[in-house]
Symmetry: D2
Subunit: 148 residues, 4 copies
Amino acid sequence: MLEHDAIVRVRYAETDRMGVAYHSNFLIWFEIGRVEMLRSMGVRYREMEDADDCNIVVVEVHCQYKKSAVYDDVLRIRTRMTEVRKRTVRFAYQVLRDPSGELLATGETAHVVCGRDGRPKSLPEKYRALFAAAEPAGQPDQGSTSPR
Amino acid sequence: MLEHDAIVRVRYAETDRMGVAYHSNFLIWFEIGRVEMLRSMGVRYREMEDADDCNIVVVEVHCQYKKSAVYDDVLRIRTRMTEVRKRTVRFAYQVLRDPSGELLATGETAHVVCGRDGRPKSLPEKYRALFAAAEPAGQPDQGSTSPR
Amino acid sequence: MLEHDAIVRVRYAETDRMGVAYHSNFLIWFEIGRVEMLRSMGVRYREMEDADDCNIVVVEVHCQYKKSAVYDDVLRIRTRMTEVRKRTVRFAYQVLRDPSGELLATGETAHVVCGRDGRPKSLPEKYRALFAAAEPAGQPDQGSTSPR
Amino acid sequence: MLEHDAIVRVRYAETDRMGVAYHSNFLIWFEIGRVEMLRSMGVRYREMEDADDCNIVVVEVHCQYKKSAVYDDVLRIRTRMTEVRKRTVRFAYQVLRDPSGELLATGETAHVVCGRDGRPKSLPEKYRALFAAAEPAGQPDQGSTSPR
């Protein structure tokens, strides 16, 4: 199972008056985790959108905050692809503080593959094969025979 | 049970290259929903933080996206307080497009009451009494006898 | 000369660890000032982009910060259109704290009218006539005979 | 004269419906340019704020946009400290697209050194000496005898 670590540093603009990173920024960091994981697999998400008309649209987000991130902290966004199906993809995340490794947050996102027109479509085969290798079971969704 | 509607308009800065509001903005709108609901109850959240050292810290967020919000849309953030306990509060949200009433997203947030020092503390009695009236059952948490 | 006031309230997400509104947010508020000024003139900027292929692209921004805006402050974004030419428009702004009227910031923006393709184009006549009435001198740009 | 290059990649959240990076993000990238320049000089800005009670508050921003930055572009934020005085500092910036080197924007910021209480104060001597070496003329401000 592929797991990928992306590094971000907390920006001043991301802090709030409590002195910590505002909670919605974790969703932006999750996105960076996804995109950098894809890049590590040889997929540039911009090309997926522009050349293949494939948008990995967020349909659900869940985030649990354990500890605060503060300004200038170096964060490790640990990303896993937890499910790949014909038209949907799921990711799970851990946000860790570097270098201590403290766990700051965990999260999951669910996505539907859509065209530029906003309509769901099947993930092109070249991506399904590639993503399947990153999934926990290493098996792509088989359509109607899928257990879920 | 108190339900409160706050209105926001989608800003240009909140849109993304897909032409829709970027998904993390819904968390910011949820916050506006909470704060305006409190204001409607006579509580200015800034004063809660500054005068009473009460921060309603987000510890969990869940959001399900149904339809896209687009630039300049008028959104109705419908907020309910779903649970009030000694040290925790929960809210639920619906984001509706005005004037059609289409449901764009639903969400929930869980919060812990913390002091400026980041340590959990009990919600001051004046707020508990007030918030309890907004809860579904209209009953404040009873501490150890709470069913949950 | 038309002057328009738009009202925004400082969001929690807009504050930073210094306890004040992060400075880049003023540019977002300037945009709200412009768009609401246009709306008061009967122009919905979204329609300008979508129906008339007219993007009022920012090419220059200047902002001077006098006093801090803090969380939950009500701000008055006072906007004037200071120049309208064939392909360019300029705006000036004041950000005032309500209800005291304290001046928090002043700013200016310069814009070029562009199509969806990113290429400069002339502002359609219907907008030029309308915008000219909002300009200080009340006179639209005359092309090559313009004094500037 | 010290010049420092920091690298950022355009995030999805930073794009807008025109398909380009929203203009206010350049101010956030300028801040990254400043902070990484300081880090390259051995100064961690977080420590300046926390340990030395020195906030480099933005009092003026100017930005000229030449070309658009698009999603996933790698940007080079080229930063120079253009003036160091007792209580004020100025920076200049160029934003270049990598690897082509196209100039996307130029900017300047002016800052006043303030304590946590928001009141102007003198830059501690250790920073003045260090910053002076980064200034064009390599000479720190001499107070009233300064030519500017």
